[in-house]
């Protein structure tokens, strides 16, 4: 189920990547269609993969702890998680990477649930082949990932409000009352917009200005 690959080769002339691959069962969501252990076994043959294993719930607390421990013990520098859609848990696993001291962008996910086990439920063999392909693609991408860092920039604490109708007036007052400077631009000679023309307004039938 678990093994260490000693045959990893360098990519792009750089230091050999140390990739950890985790094939998530997601309970039975993935495991009832995809042979997760087989996918993990095959993943171990891929270039750059230091370790590969199948795991019950990668996103759970114990799952994340296990991955973090592997990162610490084996010096993994990038991680492939083959589980659900990255649209669901990419933020979760990016946080896990950070907590493990790795750059969050050194993570890649393979979508084995929404785009494999759930849509090929009656073809376990084909789904397992596809799962391996998706892992292989993810590993290939993971080998070429580079750490990225957000930049911070200064900001002007001031807002331009274009239009002095009721919406613009409300926005300007809320901002100004919260302590922010506001520049309110109105093309006509007075603010007020359409509402200034109204007397009674629904539903309360009171005056608008």
């Amino acid at each position: 189920m678990e093994a260490i690959n000693t045959l990893s080769t360098p990519v792009d002339g750089k230091k050999t990547p140390k990739i950890g691959v985790y094939v998530c069962h997601c309970g039975l969501n993935i495991a009832q269609t995809v042979d997760c252990a087989k996918v993990a076994r095959n993943a171990l043959e891929l270039s750059g993969v230091l370790m590969a294993k199948d795991i019950g719930y990668a996103c759970s607390e114990p799952g994340q702890n296990e991955i973090r421990q592997d990162i610490a013990e084996n010096g993994l520098d990038r991680v492939v998680i083959a589980s659900c859609s990255p649209r669901l848990h990419e933020p979760t696993f990016r946080k896990m990477m950070e907590a493990a001291g790795l750059n969050p962008f050194m993570l890649e996910m393979a979508n084995l649930r929404e785009q494999c086990s759930w849509v090929h439920m009656h073809e376990p063999d084909a789904a397992t082949d596809k799962a391996f392909d998706l892992v292989k693609m993810a590993v290939s991408r993971a080998q070429r990932l580079a750490p990225l860092f957000p930049e911070t920039m200064p900001l002007t604490k001031r807002t331009l409000v274009i239009g002095g109708g009721v919406a613009g007036i409300q926005a300007a007052l809320d901002l100004a009352d919260s302590g922010y400077e506001v520049v309110l631009v109105e093309k006509s000679p007075s603010i007020g917009g359409i509402m200034a023309r109204l007397d009674k307004t629904f539903p309360t039938m009171d005056c608008s200005i």
């Binding site: 785009q115 849509v119 596809k130 392909d133 604490k157 331009l160 919406a167 613009g168 007052l173 520049v183």
Partner: protein, 602 residues
């Protein structure tokens, strides 16, 4: 309104328009053009002595021409700022001075004919677009006779007429003969919900505005006969239905059916022909006054602003929000928000709510005093850049600047870059690296996928926001499709470089699909327009090279279209089955021919 004028934190520029916007979230530089008022705004006390002596009489815009004003005037009594202004095109002239009576009358010497238009630069971190709307002009619908018949009014004119501060001090009279009408009719949906004239959308406020007007009439003049011609009454808001019932209780007649024709009678009253859709009978109604409940149209200046700020408009002409449910006040461009009718027809309550929401969103961005930029942005490899300017042309956010004349390399403003990757896909010199979606990373995926048995597989490029999400939705819905489909995710379909497609075919892919958001739904404004152009271009090249162009498909699939995704995968599989091993062999041979490279660049 007066709170705005008095607030120490609000700088108010009236008679002003935005003419240019530079910069990006957190650091916008905005150029305003402030037109001359010819009256010192801070000194004028609004005493009105100037207007009393002004000999020029013109229709008053505020009352829609139902009353008059002078060439020097205050727009309306509660105006903010309260200062008077001169309409310089109407003024008799001051150079040489032919009148200047106002100058003599002004004790505080506020009037200055030498004032000129000013250009003002303001630096801001966020922008709220609250440009409002404009009423539909019913002259387009000639069958109602607006402007041909003097007692056909718009709802806004009627509004001024019954306003206590209006031209008749709130008396309900006909503008032509000052007779109090004995019967008033309202026609609903004028310029709304019609595919012929005006907009196809519901203007949201006209039903309730008419109900309110009927109540105003019935409360002051209970004997006036009031009829409302409608398609259906939309009284969906809090307290609205109650108001509608009150109106019916007071005897207002609601007749389901819009008039086909209006004629003027000898006494200037109107004869309205309506098919009552409840009884299917055409009936004629004689009314002393007819009010057209005009719809809400987008402001004409929206187009200019859209270009300056890099925003999107819906086909109706209102501004498009980042997400219709989850980000209803955000623009797709970071740091810009919408409030009020600029985004779509709204009533006062909704406009106020959205104004507050927009300010909240702006504060959320500004309160830290600095902004963190998303690191998935593009980067220029200066040595390779030939300063051709293509990247700047395709960038939906104007985040790239290139000095084409001086041939200096392109510069990406990483704060403005949203990370669609269209620039990297379009760069003819491979001089742009799209971080986290680099050429190497994506080609690596293509190669890994096609290493074994490529002929059996379907290569799909899917954008993160729509198509990839659509595929996820197919999964959530357990829609089954062929298991040989493999997706490669990019943030935007605009990232799908020509060479990714060629790589796929060269490595033996039988079919390739590029999928993205529908036009108008693209999360990077309109980057998917470039996707389409590129795919068409590749298909043409394929044809020239002797490769069947239909092996490359383009399909727009939204995040909600799981079923369409699954169906289309079935179609892709059918298409794949038409591609023989020999055909793939030929394609690989054609594409491996080193001479192709030259043809590839044209």
């Amino acid at each position: 309104m007066t709170d705005v004028g008095r607030h120490p934190k609000i700088k108010l520029h009236t008679l002003s328009e935005v003419v240019d916007v530079k910069g990006y979230v957190g650091n916008f530089k905005v150029k305003l053009l402030k037109k001359a008022r010819y009256v010192a705004e801070n000194d004028c006390t609004g005493c009105g002595e100037c207007a009393k002596v002004c000999p020029v009489v013109r229709p008053d815009e505020f009352n829609l021409g139902l009353s008059s004003r002078r060439a020097i005037y205050s727009p309306f009594p509660q105006a903010v700022p309260a200062a008077y202004m001169v309409n310089i095109h109407e003024c008799l002239g001051h150079n040489p001075s032919v009148c200047s009576k106002c100058v003599d009358a002004c004790e505080k010497k506020c009037i200055n004919f030498h004032m000129s238009d000013e250009e003002i630069i303001e630096e801001v971190g966020t922008i709220i677009v609250a440009t409002g709307s404009t009423p539909f002009d019913p002259r387009e619908m000639d069958e109602y006779g607006y402007t041909r018949f003097e007692n056909v009014l718009t709802s806004i004119e009627f509004e001024r007429l019954v306003n206590a501060g209006g031209p008749s001090q709130g008396a309900l009279i006909r503008p032509g003969d000052r007779i109090t009408p004995k019967s008033v009719g309202f026609i609903q949906c004028v310029g709304s919900r019609s595919s012929n004239k005006g907009g196809e959308y519901c203007s949201n406020v006209c039903c309730m505005n008419t109900i309110k007007s009927t109540l105003v009439i019935k409360e002051h003049f209970p004997d006036v006969d009031v009829k409302v011609f409608y398609i259906d009454i939309r009284a969906f808001g809090k307290g609205f239905e109650e108001l509608y019932r009150r109106s019916r209780r007071l005897g207002v007649q609601y007749i389901r059916g819009l008039p086909g024709n209006v004629e003027e009678l000898g006494n200037k009253s109107l004869k309205v022909a309506v098919e009552d859709s409840a009884s299917h009978q055409v009936k004629f109604h004689e009314l002393d006054m007819l009010v057209l409940a005009v719809g809400i149209k987008p402001t004409r200046s929206n187009h200019k602003l859209q270009e300056m700020l890099g925003l999107q408009l819906t086909p109706d002409g209102f501004f498009l929000e980042a997400h219709p449910k989850l980000q209803p006040v955000d623009a797709a461009t970071r740091g810009i928000y919408f409030a009020g009718c600029a985004e779509g027809p709204k009533d006062i309550k909704e406009s106020v709510t959205q104004g507050s929401a927009a300010s909240g969103r702006a504060i959320r961005l500004m309160h830290k005093g600095e902004i963190t930029t998303e690191p998935i942005t593009s980067e220029i490899v200066e040595e390779r850049c030939k300063s051709c300017g293509k990247c700047a042309e395709v960038c939906p956010y104007n985040a790239i600047t290139v000095d084409v004349k001086r041939k200096t390399p392109a510069v990406v403003n990483s704060a403005a870059c949203a990370g669609c990757g269209t620039c990297a896909a379009e760069c003819p010199f491979d001089a742009i690296v799209m971080n986290h979606f680099t050429d190497g990373q994506i080609i690596g995926q293509v190669d890994a996928m096609l290493e074994n048995a490529p002929e059996s597989k379907i290569l799909v490029f899917a954008c993160n926001w729509c198509s990839y999400a659509g595929a996820d939705y197919a999964g959530v819905s357990r829609l089954q499709y062929p298991a040989n489909v493999r997706l490669i995710r990019t943030m935007c379909s605009g990232r799908v470089d020509e060479k990714f497609i060629w790589e796929g075919f060269e490595k033996g892919a039988p079919v390739v699909l590029v999928s993205g958001c529908h036009f108008g739904d693209c999360h990077y404004i309109d980057a998917n327009r470039w996707t389409e152009k590129r795919v068409l271009k590749v298909q043409k090249k394929m044809e020239k090279l002797g490769i069947r162009p239909e092996r490359l498909q383009l399909k727009w699939i939204s995040a909600a279209e799981g079923a369409i995704f699954a169906d289309f995968m079935q179609k892709m599989e059918e298409l794949r089955q038409t591609v023989s091993a020999g055909e793939i062999r030929d394609t690989v041979r054609i594409l491996k021919n080193p001479r192709r490279e030259k043809g590839d660049k044209d």
